[in-house]
Symmetry: C2
Amino acid sequence: MTRPSEITRERVMKAAERLFAERGYEGTSVRAIVAKARVNQAAINYHFAGKEGLYREVLRTAFRALTAHHLAHAEEGKAASREAALGAFVRRQLRPLTARDEFSRHLRIFNWEAAQPTAVFRKLMSEEAAPFMSLAVDLVRRFLPEADQRTLSAAAIWLVGQCSIFVRNREQLAAPPLNLALDEPAVERLAELVSRWAIGGLIQPA
Amino acid sequence: MTRPSEITRERVMKAAERLFAERGYEGTSVRAIVAKARVNQAAINYHFAGKEGLYREVLRTAFRALTAHHLAHAEEGKAASREAALGAFVRRQLRPLTARDEFSRHLRIFNWEAAQPTAVFRKLMSEEAAPFMSLAVDLVRRFLPEADQRTLSAAAIWLVGQCSIFVRNREQLAAPPLNLALDEPAVERLAELVSRWAIGGLIQPA
DNA sequence: TTGGATTTCAAACGGGAGTTTGAAATTCGT
DNA sequence: ACGAATTTCAAACTCCCGTTTGAAATCCAA
């Protein structure tokens, strides 16, 4: 691989990641990406074989970074109590509400997919979902040690979805009629509420 | 209003409702609607002043039917225990997983909006949301009698979102790697799980 | 039954989307 | 420094979208 073409690839990926996180796959046009990346329009087809190919690449990057990130925190979580581990998980899921860092962008891309999974995402998910989902399942299993696989799956999805609503509707929540403030202390309170609800729900005996 | 034109309007509305429920606003083209309704393409602009106007009309119909439906069941719910009322609410929310009746279609349209609210929906919501949201708020208040308005709002949104995930991702849940069965007994079990989690979460003392 | 208003219709319009094209520019091993 | 391979570029292409048009058909009150 030659040097300058790598730079183009990198600029496209970076611009695409930001735009996909902000407006989702359908809401992002190839023209918007190349404008932000300051790159010729044909570059996307040349380097990624089309918009879908580019999205697949962005999704893979995000997927791996997220898995790594959660895995790292899962290590810490093993030592902590199950309540603390779940609280930390929820707080991480809500991070995109206040932060605009790379992790938040990745999570936001996944939140778009949670709403309406693209074909690209479903394929990638079916190939690489196992390690990712098993993290949530492990977390849930500490509350439901005797549950069967189906119940655990449902619970894990349920848990991940808890926060997804708030992240996806961030802008609407801040607007009337709700007017939820979304500064750090408010999000911290929200995280506490959600984890309390989730813990309370899971801890319930069968 | 003359008779035959009413028939056209009705056919468009019916076809549109089904398609919007199935694929959402963006995913439904005017051409698809007129094909299903067996009506000329210009009819939509003539009768509804455009796709948006048609959607607004469908949304209003759905909104009112849903509010009425929930209101009716809320009456029954008042007599029952709060747990039973919430269980019934959850079961109703999950109904689109198995049924394909009008109520399910309306709920599905709203689930599309829960993912990514359109401008039309937000406007309608801000005008007519009060009676609808207050139903969920009332339900939640029975578990959190001392909570302030913000907490109740957050809790109501949270409650509605519980089921939304499953409804929206129906097709993915049935596919690998999860393979959740979505027949009636399975959905009944799912409803029980979700209400137990939700109740457990809400009942938790502050 | 007639004549003006309403409604239907086929066709075309204009715009935005992703992709293709083929030539020009650049890169890089030799 | 040369020359083949790679990469960039502006422009055009094709497709689908919602909407408009103006004439034809239909309706319905008088």
